[in-house]
């Protein structure tokens, strides 16, 4: 039996549509909600094992200790270990278990904010929301979560050329945080090569060198967030006055 010849295209439909437009739209809505609630949101990305959780635990502790209402959403493929570590300082923390998903999307953040809201924690009661993304230097790069700032972390135990190997992630960051600087000596970390690599893919980006073990640089990170909160508080006062 003869097959009919394959029919030619009836028409070509031009779409010119961004594949991530659905996520971008939801992230846009989130960004407006964060601005309205005067919540400063940071999206923290890095490779696994760069020391995100240790540093953020210390940072959250500093913020809570100075009266900043900080909270965190922390994502991992499995376990709630990181939520336990981050929550030790008393800040509200929710674990996002993503199973096999390698990045966070705006919709997931919406769901967890709704869960918080159902538990009585409103966005307007949070000054700083830290979103600790999945440890992955590729996938989270394309997914906007509505954050005000994206922080990328690079530990001294990784290669100095990591920014050159993962340019999309480093190029899109608002702040580069070098972690575990207390281990720079044993790791023979070449500081100037690493800083030059960051500068090459993201010229002019702020760089803060830190150690969760010694506390180096943590005060600078906390001050950066307190400044952001102060700006938002002034904005809140101004909008209340009008």
């Amino acid at each position: 039996m003869c097959r009919d010849p394959e029919p030619g295209p009836a028409e070509t439909l031009v779409l010119e549509r961004n594949v991530l437009s659905a996520n971008d739209a939801r992230a846009g809505v989130l960004r407006e909600r964060f601005q309205t609630a005067h919540t400063h949101v940071i999206n923290v990305v890095s490779s696994p094992g760069s020391g995100k959780t240790s540093l953020l635990a210390r940072l959250l502790g500093d913020l809570v200790g100075s009266g900043v209402r900080a909270a965190a959403l922390v994502a991992d493929c499995a376990t709630d270990n990181d939520a336990v570590r981050l929550g030790a300082c008393g800040a509200p923390v929710r674990q996002i278990v993503t199973d096999s998903q390698c990045h966070l999307e705006a919709g997931v953040i919406e769901d967890h904010l709704a869960a918080w809201s159902a538990e009585g924690l409103a966005l307007r009661d949070i000054d700083v929301l830290v979103i600790e993304n999945i440890g992955n230097l590729v996938c989270p790069a394309g997914f906007d979560l509505g954050e005000a700032e994206r922080w990328v972390m690079l530990s001294v135990t990784e290669g100095e050329d990591k920014p050159l190997k993962y340019p999309a992630m480093f190029a899109g960051a608002d702040l580069a945080v070098v972690t575990k600087v207390d281990l720079a000596g044993p790791c023979r970390f070449d500081r100037s090569t690493a800083l030059a690599a960051i500068e090459t893919v993201n010229p002019g980006v702020d760089i803060i060198e830190t150690s969760a073990a010694t506390g180096d640089g943590c005060d600078v990170l906390a001050a950066r967030l307190r400044d952001a909160v102060l700006r938002l508080t002034e904005g809140r006062a101004a909008s209340a006055a009008t």
Binding site: M1, E16, N18, V19, A168, A171, V205
Partner: protein, 129 residues
Amino acid sequence: MHELSIARSIVREVEAALQDRPDVQVTVVRLRIGRLSGIVAPALEFGLSFVTEATRLDGARIEITEEPVAVWCSPCQATRTTDGPSVLCPVCDTPSADIRAGRGMQIVNIDLSEPTGVPRDLLEVADVS
């Protein structure tokens, strides 16, 4: 490695664009993938082969064009296409933070087949006999 969820987004976007066209089938999907988008073309094609099953993109050919990275070079006062995923100006070697192209992922267009009016499963049964 999130090509599978990107593949799902592509199917969702295409199906959404065709919601008023219940009788057409997609034969070709043309994509433009930025060099800095973090997407690997073969992995995306692999993901699409699964997630298009039982959708109107089932069996569609996937054509992927790579979008090179372009940056605004301040010293040159020009937009430059760079080498691979680099953000260095190829002329003066200055890095640029002003990325003008190469991060996106677009569905450029799709080819649609003639509406046959005959459900696909009936056609397949006829072919076997």
